[in-house]
């Protein structure tokens, strides 16, 4: 696959030589150094080849700014890194947002954090930061924001018009699950357009990472996604381990898999309750919390915390499993299995529920490539894309599991996919428990101060919401030079304006609920 793409690329762009990179070390197969004037053509080439844009970020090397594009394929693993260098004094690049809709927000993000201006971008407005920033936060040197650039932000003020009215859905609204704000243009009960406004929970984790050592950043990972904290924890730890060449022992890998799956179930359970609550049924919310409580208790006994775990450490775990862990998990598996039929009776088979979710918010198969959405959202469209299978980490390559897919990509499919995923997670836990080896839970001789070798690395895992990517650039010091988080909810939410256009407000709320958004993760 890599060789084929490389050959076809050379055919199309004879002047550029794609370099093959050892995947085990770097997390990507091909490295292409592009120029400003051909990046649009290159993006178009990958779009035609069926690749999606996994990530787009920027790194400030002081002498130059480097835009990093990551492409990947849904069917066969082939990660490609494309870089474009730009002048730090007047940084600019052509937009690729007309090729990949996903680049739309990513370019806005880079614009506000680095000051890179994307030529041809239709809506170059700040995404996270609001009025009053005076310098670009992620630049290594203090670069003030020029006056003309601040004007852009202020121009985004919706005005009342004759043919409809604007409604601020959030930031305080019962069904935005946190502090998402959607500026909606309404015509009666219908939504004419919807524009999410982010940044109400923005904490700049990426900047924090540049100011603390690798160990000190550990708790931050859990704070990004409080529902899938262990998965984010694993995403960070595994990336740094790969970067430093540390190998966690077998037992630790198994325990990581088991606890991550428990965490996935707890996240899905909470989503289940919240989704039905969005549709007006309040009782299932309490039922799922009851089930979820079991998981929290089990994990608390082992990891020490209930929500924002920092259980995984470089080279292993914080401590070994609690002595009751295995029994408690087995008990929980039996309990939850018996509860699914109740949920089926209460919710899945309910006529009102079916009418509210069936054929609402339909995504065709083009969405995942254009928006780079992942997790249950992409699986609902019928593409069996799961990082656990696509790019196995921990011990997922040793465990056989089914990937549930939908057919139409509507809210019902997203709902059913997640319900099935919970059942499959239970199976995975059961299998992993059976094979759980004895032995150390922690690698020996892990240095107190990690100083990874020079270079960059891209590593992904499957968080409960989808593809979580961590990109770290190391400069041989004990502090990351640049850390970039590709979070799943972000690209999932991007599809919302397109899905919500022209729909009833009640349907749009249902669609918003079906994404399983976690706003702190989006805002970072």
């Amino acid at each position: 696959m890599v060789r084929e793409i490389s050959d076809r690329f050379k055919e199309k762009f004879p002047s550029i030589e794609p370099k093959e990179i050892p995947y085990e070390q770097r997390g990507y197969h091909l490295f292409i150094e592009a120029e400003k004037n051909n990046i649009v053509d290159i993006a178009g080439f990958f779009r035609n080849e069926g690749f999606y844009l996994a990530d787009l970020c920027c790194v400030d090397y002081v002498d130059y700014l480097e835009l990093v594009y990551f492409f990947n394929n849904h069917n066969k693993l082939c990660r490609i890194k494309v870089t474009v260098k730009t002048d730090p004094d007047k940084p600019s690049a052509p937009t690729i947002s007309h090729i990949y809709n996903m680049a739309h927000w990513y370019e806005r993000e880079i614009h506000e954090f680095f000051g890179v201006f994307f030529e041809g971008h239709p809506f170059m407005v700040y995404l996270f930061l609001h009025d009053g920033i005076d310098h670009y936060p992620l630049r290594k040197k203090n670069v003030p924001v020029p006056e003309w650039d601040r004007q852009i932000l202020n121009s985004f003020r919706p005005e009342e018009q004759e043919d409809g009215f604007f409604l601020n859905l959030g930031p305080q609204h019962p069904s935005t699950h946190g502090v998402l704000r959607v500026v909606v243009k309404m015509n009666g009960e219908y939504m004419l357009s919807a524009e999410p406004v982010l940044g109400y929970l923005h904490r700049m984790h990426e900047k924090m990472a540049e100011n603390r050592t690798y160990q000190q950043f550990l708790p931050n990972a859990a704070r990004m996604d409080y529902l899938g904290a262990l998965n984010f924890n694993l995403g960070y730890v595994a990336t740094v381990e790969k970067l430093c060449g540390i190998e966690a022992p077998e037992r630790a890998q198994y325990i990581r898999t088991i606890t991550c799956e428990l965490n996935r179930i707890s996240s899905h359970l909470l989503w289940f309750g919240a989704f039905v609550a969005d549709l007006g049924g309040l009782t299932p919310f309490l039922y799922t919390f009851d089930d979820r409580e079991n998981i929290l208790d089990i994990l608390e006994a082992t990891a020490g915390s209930r929500l924002t775990y920092s259980y995984f450490r470089f080279g292993g775990l914080y401590n070994d499993l609690d002595e009751n862990f295995v029994d408690a998990v087995k008990q929980f598996i039996t309990r939850l299995r018996s509860r699914f039929s109740m949920y089926e009776n209460l919710v899945t088979g309910n006529v009102i529920f079916i009418n509210r979710v069936k054929n609402i918010g339909v995504m065709d198969k083009g969405y995942p490539i254009r928006y780079g959405c992942s997790g249950p959202v992409i699986r609902s469209t019928g593409i069996p894309f799961d990082i656990r299978r696509h790019e196995p980490y921990a011990v997922y390559d040793r465990i056989d599991f089914r990937i549930p897919t939908g057919t139409t990509g509507d809210n019902m499919d997203r709902y059913l996919v997640r319900i099935q995923e919970m059942e499959i997670s239970l199976d995975i836990i059961e299998k992993a428990l059976k094979d759980l080896p004895a032995g150390p839970y922690k690698a020996e001789k892990i240095p107190k101060k990690l100083k990874p070798p020079k270079g960059d690395i891209y590593h992904t895992i499957e968080s409960p919401r989808g593809e979580l990517g961590v990109y770290i650039v190391s400069d041989e010091s004990d502090v990351p030079y640049r850390m970039r988080w590709r979070v799943p909810s972000y690209s999932n939410l991007m599809t919302f304006p397109e899905l919500a256009r022209g729909s009833l407000i009640a349907d749009a709320i249902a669609t918003l609920g079906s994404y399983d958004l976690v706003i702190p993760e989006i805002d970072r």
Binding site: F165, M186, E189, G280, G281, T283, V347, I352, N355, L504
Partner: protein, 327 residues
Amino acid sequence: MCDLAAIINIIGKETARLILGLIGVLIVVVVNALVLTWVERKVSGHMQKRIGPKEVGPYGLIQPFADGLKLLGKELLTPANVDKPLYYLAPVIVFIPVLVSFIVIPFDGFLQVKDINVGILVILAFSSLSVLSILIAGWGSNNKYSLIGATRSVAQNIAYEIPLLLSLLPVAFMANSLSLRDIVEVQRQGWFVWRWQFFAFLIYFIAATAETNRTPFDLPEAESELVAGFHTEYSGMRFALFFLAEYTNIFIASAIATTFFLGGYLGPVLPGIVWFFIKTYFLVFVIMWFRWTFPRVRFDQLLNFSWKILIPVAFANLILTGGILKL
């Protein structure tokens, strides 16, 4: 005591009865709302594997009083830019139709403020008025969520008023009277819900759930969509008045169902008033049961359900009943 007798002599027996009745009705309304808040919290608690209130008084029985005191002590916030006269008026007039409906309901053979020979019409006419206060509240609040909630409420009430009326008429046909007491007395031969009017009962109950804005038809205050709908901007006692009115509406809807279909105060052994309240509160419980079980329907589905299913079925039922009676 003799003063009272003198007063009654002066103002006339009928007027005195009305005044006393209204005082009684007010007491029933308040006590009922207190009881229902407690019941709702307990019912929802037990349905959701919780206990509900239990700290204030035995079984949390004093909780509604504590809530009421808290609401009384709260500041009455008036947001800027509201339409002040309308904003103040809405919570007051939400009560008028509710109180009037109580007058004609027979709680027992002798316990009825006034038996009017067009009792059904009084109830139907005044229950449609409650939508007016919702509309005023939504418009006066000058809030987009409130306004959407109010418009939804109007459309919903118009749509469900018709099946409501159509489901009560066959009963009036069969009783050959519009007086509520006569309708109850006719049921000594058997409750109407078992005497060919089962579908009418179902239609009435669904429509009544929609009229009282309860889940699955609680669109005017749909929490996940419209925050709190028409009463988003109300706080303190003004909010409490809407709350009171909602519970009183539920009670009235159930009381009418009891009177028309479940034999009203009729029943063996126990006194009539006890039977009346048992039946009514059972229906109230069912409405609460709906709320804590079902998700919410969508707005267009709600209207379609009324216009395309409930109204044709209710019409068919009405014509059938009329035809059979004529034969």
